[in-house]
């Protein structure tokens, strides 16, 4: 009997539930049909898909600053010039929440609801790899100011570009320079996090050592939240001249702290990505000093200049005025992505909103463009493993010196002398 009563109850709840679900559904539809945003033709509209929350929020925030600063500066200078008329720039943000499917939905919203002319891309390769197919399907141009993983370019996406050279190039060239410091290192211990970006970084570091004929004592990959004393102990027992590590900031901090606790003291540490960020410096305090890193851009470099920002120093000054902190290369590359769009749009000469044919034409222009910027000359590879990646901005090794200030070291003309072997 009780069972029977229960069934009746369950039926009731099913009906009610289904009824409610239906109501919510209808309300949702009503909401969205009404919610399609009207596109005016007085502005260029860019969609920004980046991670403002979740694990990648730190990197996402850096890209947001870069894109915002570009927008602000363009509009202060009267906007983008199309045959004598000026059009302001509007950015529309969507949070990818560090999750690829959320990123893909966000990208789709940019195109079908916000009707943007072009997209500025996400931080992190996983999200980029989910967003790029949406751009292919909708034939919409997409430039990322931060994606460094080589996997993106292997996929040969026609509509996706990146202003930061792939980490394969950054880590390898910087590592080669560091290995050339005097006295030349004879052995190196390579460790890294077993993540897509980090593994590519560590493997580029290993390649650099092998190219230079330096003995690679180990190639040691670990989960990011492992206890790094294990790696440090293994490394210490093999006594390398240099220690290279590929990972994000959290793992650098843990590794260097473990090294300090176990009195492990090679001639130098080279970590990538994120040595020149406040998070790395705050996480280690005084312990950050002497660490080598890599960059493609610094505020005090001589770069071509070009549109909007006359030089690297001008850009740094504008960034400091806006955010009260020094920009790093990811932020600069994100602003440079905007400058690339600006020049390409002027060449296209079409007023917003862009038609599908105009968007396709814009992609062709970007592919063939050579853009002078405060960040450096930007050109995109037209074929090969780095297809549509800007490989022409040259990577440089850096070191945190007094007051944790980053300076360029190595063989470049503007380089400062390295503190090597590192003395605390």
């Amino acid at each position: 009997m009780r069972e029977n009563i229960k069934t009746v109850k369950n039926r009731r709840q099913f009906m009610k539930a289904a009824g409610l679900a239906g109501t919510v559904g209808v309300a949702g539809v009503a909401g969205c049909v009404g919610g399609g945003s009207d596109r005016g033709g007085d502005k260029f509209k860019f969609g920004v898909v980046t991670s403002l929350s979740g694990d990648l929020r730190f990197g996402g925030e850096v890209t947001r600053r870069g894109y915002d600063l570009w927008k602000k500066t363009v509009n202060e200078n009267g906007g983008i010039d199309i045959d004598g008329s000026s059009y302001e720039v509007e950015l529309s943000y969507a949070d990818a929440k560090s999750d690829p499917s959320t990123g893909a939905d966000a990208a789709s919203r940019m195109i079908s609801s916000e009707r943007v002319d072009a997209v500025l891309g996400p931080y992190s390769s996983n999200v980029t790899l989910a967003v790029a197919p949406i751009m292919e399907k909708n034939r919409t141009p997409h430039i990322s100011g931060s994606a460094e993983s080589p996997r993106i370019w292997e996929q040969q996406f026609k509509h996706t570009f990146g202003t930061v050279p792939t980490v394969t190039l950054i880590a390898q060239r910087a590592a080669e320079e560091i290995l050339s410091l005097d006295p030349a290192a004879e052995s190196v211990y390579v460790s890294g996090v077993n993540g897509p970006f980090s593994k590519a970084t560590a493997s580029a570091m290993r390649d650099a050592a092998e190219n230079k004929g330096v003995e690679v004592l180990a190639y040691d990959l670990n989960p990011s939240d492992t206890d790094w004393t294990n790696v440090v102990s293994s490394a210490k027992s093999q006594d390398p001249d240099l220690h290279f590590h590929g990972g994000h900031i959290g793992s650098h901090v843990s590794l260097l702290k473990a090294a300090d606790q176990l009195n492990y003291d090679p001639d130098g540490f080279f970590n990538h990505y994120g040595v020149n960020t406040s998070s790395f410096k705050e996480g280690l305090g005084d312990g950050a000093r002497g660490t080598f890193g890599a960059t493609v851009w610094m505020p005090d470099l001589e770069r071509s200049g070009g549109k909007l920002f006359g030089s690297a120093a001008d850009y740094a000054e504008a960034a400091r005025a806006e955010y009260d902190s020094d920009p790093d290369y990811t932020q600069a590359a994100s602003s440079a992505a905007g400058v690339v769009y600006q020049q390409a749009l002027e060449e296209l000469g079409a007023a917003p909103p862009l038609s599908d044919t105009q968007k396709s034409k814009l992609v062709e222009i970007i592919e063939g463009a050579s853009v002078e910027t405060f960040y450096g000359d930007v050109t995109f590879d037209k074929e090969g493993e780095f297809y549509h990646n800007n490989t022409s901005t040259s990577p440089l090794p850096i070191q945190l010196q007094d007051d944790n200030k980053a300076v360029v070291v190595g063989s470049a003309d503007s380089a400062s002398p390295a503190n090597y072997p590192v003395e605390e």
Binding site: V8, A18, N126, P196
Partner: protein, 350 residues
């Protein structure tokens, strides 16, 4: 006055809904509505609608083992991820179309669930919860290391014309995925309704949940029945994992095997109402929309995270039977008052 009116309207609706053929009509009406729905939506909203269907289906699959059978499966997401990778491997290594990947993923995960279920279902309560969670984490770590899943580089799934293996499907676009999810989700709901609300099997499952020992002494083969529910619910999660992988085209262990996948299924089922058909539907719709819409409403902050935390705690505190319980009238003003009074008593620590 108003309250009386409400009551009589409520009674009338109730009477209507209690008619035996009413669910069938409702299901038919829902199906019809959902079939024509995409005609009114642009691509983005079609994606949102298909995301809702995906999560309603997943929450319903968890509800089978967690809500109806009362076994807290904290590793259900392992099958969602396994389904994704099996499909990817079938499509890349064997170069078979998606439809083959979908079927093989379902069968493979059913076999896997059987093999895992036999030893694991001997545990219960917290032990079962922790064991399934550890199993899922181990699977994720394994997928990050071995080569066939692409390891930490993840896996790109083929897409484009001819990859679906279904006649008349050209480029698999949002419309295709919408109707694919619609078929899977409606199928899951119909199956759950028939099995758990309309057949003797369902009574047995609930008897095991409520009093496993007593059920066994009445001659119910608890081991066998639990195993069947587990295998079924896991295989369904795998089918959704497979469809989702083909849809997103890129799968990575840290995404499709993330613990948050399981957590979300549980919270949806709980918020809607455990062990009911309507619960996961309501919970799935609400939580997915909340999740996708927060950035539209709250702008560029992470404030939605603490708010979701408060929401979850509030539901557990005041509406443990979920939205279904609220609709059933279990969370009236009196209930909330009583709840608060009892809570206040527990602060009496002197």
């Amino acid at each position: 006055m108003g309250a009386e009116n409400d009551l009589s309207i409520r009674n009338r609706i109730q009477a209507l809904l209690d008619r035996d053929d009413a669910h069938l009509w409702l299901f038919a009406a829902g199906t019809l509505f959902l079939t024509v729905l995409p005609l009114a939506l642009n691509t983005f909203w079609t994606r949102i609608a298909l995301g809702v269907l995906l999560w309603v289906g997943l929450a319903q699959s968890w509800n089978m083992i967690g809500g109806y059978a009362g076994y807290l499966d904290f590793g259900h997401g392992a099958y969602f991820g396994a389904g994704a990778f099996v499909t990817g491997i079938v499509m890349t290594e064997l170069e078979l179309p998606f439809v083959a990947g979908l079927l093989i993923a379902g069968v493979f995960c059913a076999v896997l669930a059987y093999a895992v279920g036999v030893p694991t279902l001997r545990l219960s309560g917290a032990y079962f919860a922790i064991a399934t969670w550890a199993f899922a984490e181990a699977i994720k770590e394994l997928a990050l290391i071995i080569e066939i899943t692409g390891g930490t580089y993840g896996m790109t799934i083929p897409t484009g014309p001819g990859t679906a293996g279904i006649p008349l499907v050209g480029w698999p676009d949002e419309m295709f995925f919408y109707y694919l999810m619609l078929v899977l989700t409606l199928g899951t709901i119909a199956l759950a309704y028939w099995l758990f609300e309309h057949s003797e099997f369902g009574f047995r499952v609930k008897a095991i949940r409520d009093h496993e020992d007593a059920a066994q002494s009445l001659g119910i083969d608890a081991t066998k029945i639990k195993r069947r529910v587990y295998v079924l619910s896991c295989a369904i999660a795998a089918l959704f994992g497979s469809a989702n992988a083909y849809y997103i085209t890129f799968v990575h262990p840290n995404d499709v095997l993330a613990p948050i996948i399981t957590d979300q299924m549980i919270i949806m089922a709980l918020l809607g109402g455990l062990g009911t058909i309507g619960g996961p539907i309501i919970g799935g719709v609400l939580i997915f929309l909340l999740n996708r819409m927060t950035s539209l409403f709250l702008g560029q902050t992470t404030l939605y995270l603490p708010l979701i935390g408060v929401l979850i705690m509030g539901i557990v505190l005041f509406a443990p039977s979920g939205v279904v319980g609220i609709l059933r009238g279990e969370v009236g003003r009196e209930d909330v008052k009583r709840n608060l009074r009892e809570l206040a008593e527990k602060f009496n620590i002197l």
